[in-house]
Amino acid sequence: MKPITLDKVELRHGARVIVSGLSAAFAPGSLTALVGSNGSGKTTLLRAIAGLHPLAGGRIDRGGLMPADIALLAQGSHLDRSFPITCRDVVALAATRLGPFRSIGKDRLAATRAALARVGLAEMESRPIQALSAGQFQRVLFARTMVQDASLILLDEPFTAVDTATTRLLLSVIADWHAQGRTVIAVLHDLELVRHHFPHTLMLTRQAALWDSLPDAGLQAA
C-alpha cells in the first residue's frame, strides 16, 4: 500500500476559499485525528479525500485506492431517523456495488450480524431504526462502516451526540481498524480524547493549515 498524499490542495465553497496550499501525507495504516475550529474546512477536506468534493487546485494521490476501498461515515444527524427500515437492512445495504439484481447472500448477512454484535446491537437487528437512541444509531452506522471493509476509513465527528459508554465502544472499534492495518482519519473536537487515542493529528485553522501544533502531532508535512 502507498501513502495518501495531498499536494498543495485548495478547496472552495463557491467563491470562498476554505483550504489552500495544503500538503500532507497519510501513511498506510496510520490513525489520524483532524482537528480545527468550526469552518476551517475539516469536513470538506474529508469529503475531498473521499473524492466527493472537487479540488479547486493541487492534487490528491489516493495511492491507487478505488472508491469501493474508501468508507466515509458522514455526520449521521442529517439522516431521517423515522425512515421505516430495520438496523439489519441499514447495515446490509452498505454492500458496495449491490445493484438491483444481486442478492444479499449468506456471507453478507453473516458479516452484518457480526458487525451488529460487535457494536452491541445483536438483539436489535430486526428493530426499526426509529426505536434507537442517538448513540445506538451511531453504533449502527459504525457497523455499516465495518461491513464496507474499506482500507481507508474517514469519520466525520463520529462522537457527536453520543453517550460516554458508546464513545468508549466506538473507540475500541477504531482501535480494531487500526490494528487491522486500515488507514483511519477522523474529524474530532475533543482534544483530550485525541491525545489519548490518536497517534497523529492534523490541525486546520481559518488562516492556514498548522502542522505539528498539538504536542503529540506526528504527521510529516510534505
Partner: protein, 282 residues
C-alpha cells in the same frame, strides 16, 4: 343501499373506470410512499401541474388522442422534474420555492394552451370524466401499472438506499441519479395515465393521500406500501360510487374519499396519530 353500491357498476363505462382506477391504485401509491419518504411531496404538485402544458400541446397537434396527449404529458412532466432538480442545485436556493414557481407557471401555461382548443372541456381535463374512459384510456392505465410495478420492484433496493442516505449512495455506488430519474419517470407515467378518469389535478391524489395515511398504520416500508395500496383501492371504489350517485366528477370524488381515509388514519391510526399522542399507553 345495495343499489347505491352496485348500480354504478352495471354500466360499462363505470366498470372500465373502476378497472383503470384499481390498476392505478396498485401502481401509484407505492411510488407515493417513496415520494413521502424522500420529502418530495411538493414534487408531486409540480408534476400534476407540469404535465398540463404537455397534454395541451399533444391535443393541439393530434386532437383528442389519448396517446398524443399522454406522450405530451410524459415529456412535459419529465422536463419539469429534471428542470426543477437542476434549478434547485444551480441556484442553491430553497428547492420548495423554485418548485412553487414552476408549478404556477406550468398551470397558467397549460390552461392558456387548452383555452385555444374549443373542442376540449377544461373541467374534464383538470378533474376527470369517467364517461371519457374508453378502451384506449383503460389500456393506458393498465399498461402503466403493468410497467410501473415490476420497475419499482427492480429499483427498490437502490431506491431505498438512495432515499435513506443519498450521500452514502453517492460515495459508494456513485449512480444515485440514475435511480432517481427512473423513479421520477414512473411517477410521471402514473400521474399522466390517470388524467382521463381522474383529471390532471386529481390523479396525484390517488398517489399521495394513501401514502401519507399509510405512515400511521405500519412501521415497515413494505407494510406502508401494502396499506397504501389497500387504501387507494378503497378510495377508487368508494369514490366512483359517490361520483355516480352524487353526480360529481370522479377525480374529486376519489380524492375526497382518500382524504377521508387519511383523516381517519391521522385521528385513529396505531402510529403517531392524534389518538396515540393523546393516549400513548392505550
Amino acid at each position: 343501499m345495495l343499489d347505491f353500491l352496485l348500480e354504478p357498476f352495471a354500466l360499462g363505462f363505470m366498470r372500465r373506470a373502476l378497472a383503470g382506477c384499481l390498476a392505478l391504485s396498485v401502481a401509484a401509491p407505492p411510488l407515493g410512499v417513496f415520494l413521502v419518504l424522500r420529502r418530495m411531496s411538493l414534487m408531486s404538485d409540480v408534476l400534476q401541474h407540469g404535465v398540463l402544458p404537455g397534454i395541451a400541446i399533444g391535443a393541439i397537434f393530434a386532437g383528442l388522442s389519448f396517446w398524443a396527449m399522454g406522450l405530451g404529458g410524459v415529456i412535459a412532466g419529465l422536463a419539469v422534474a429534471v428542470l426543477a432538480g437542476w434549478l434547485a442545485r444551480r441556484t442553491g436556493g430553497r428547492e420548495d420555492s423554485q418548485l412553487a414557481g414552476m408549478y404556477l407557471v406550468a398551470l397558467a401555461a397549460g390552461v392558456a394552451l387548452i383555452s385555444t382548443q374549443h373542442s376540449i372541456d377544461l373541467t374534464h381535463l383538470l378533474f376527470g370524466n369517467v364517461l371519457a374512459v374508453d378502451n384506449t384510456a383503460l389500456f393506458g392505465m393498465a399498461g402503466v401499472a403493468t410497467v410501473a410495478l415490476p420497475a419499482l420492484a427492480l429499483i427498490w433496493r437502490p431506491l431505498v438506499l438512495e432515499s435513506l442516505d443519498p450521500g452514502f449512495m453517492a460515495a459508494t455506488a456513485g449512480k444515485g441519479g440514475v435511480w432517481h430519474l427512473v423513479f421520477l419517470m414512473l411517477v410521471v407515467l402514473c400521474v399522466v395515465s390517470g388524467f382521463v378518469a381522474l383529471g390532471t389535478l386529481m390523479s396525484v391524489g390517488l398517489m399521495m393521500l394513501p401514502a401519507i395515511a399509510a405512515r400511521h398504520w405500519s412501521e415497515s416500508l413494505a407494510g406502508q406500501v401494502r396499506v397504501a395500496v389497500l387504501l387507494a383501492c378503497l378510495s377508487s371504489v368508494g369514490g366512483l360510487i359517490l361520483s355516480f350517485n352524487l353526480d360529481i366528477p370522479a377525480g374529486p370524488a376519489i380524492v375526497l374519499t382518500a382524504g377521508g381515509l387519511w383523516l381517519l388514519s391521522l385521528l385513529t391510526g396505531p402510529r403517531g396519530s392524534l389518538w396515540r399522542q393523546a393516549m400513548p399507553d392505550a
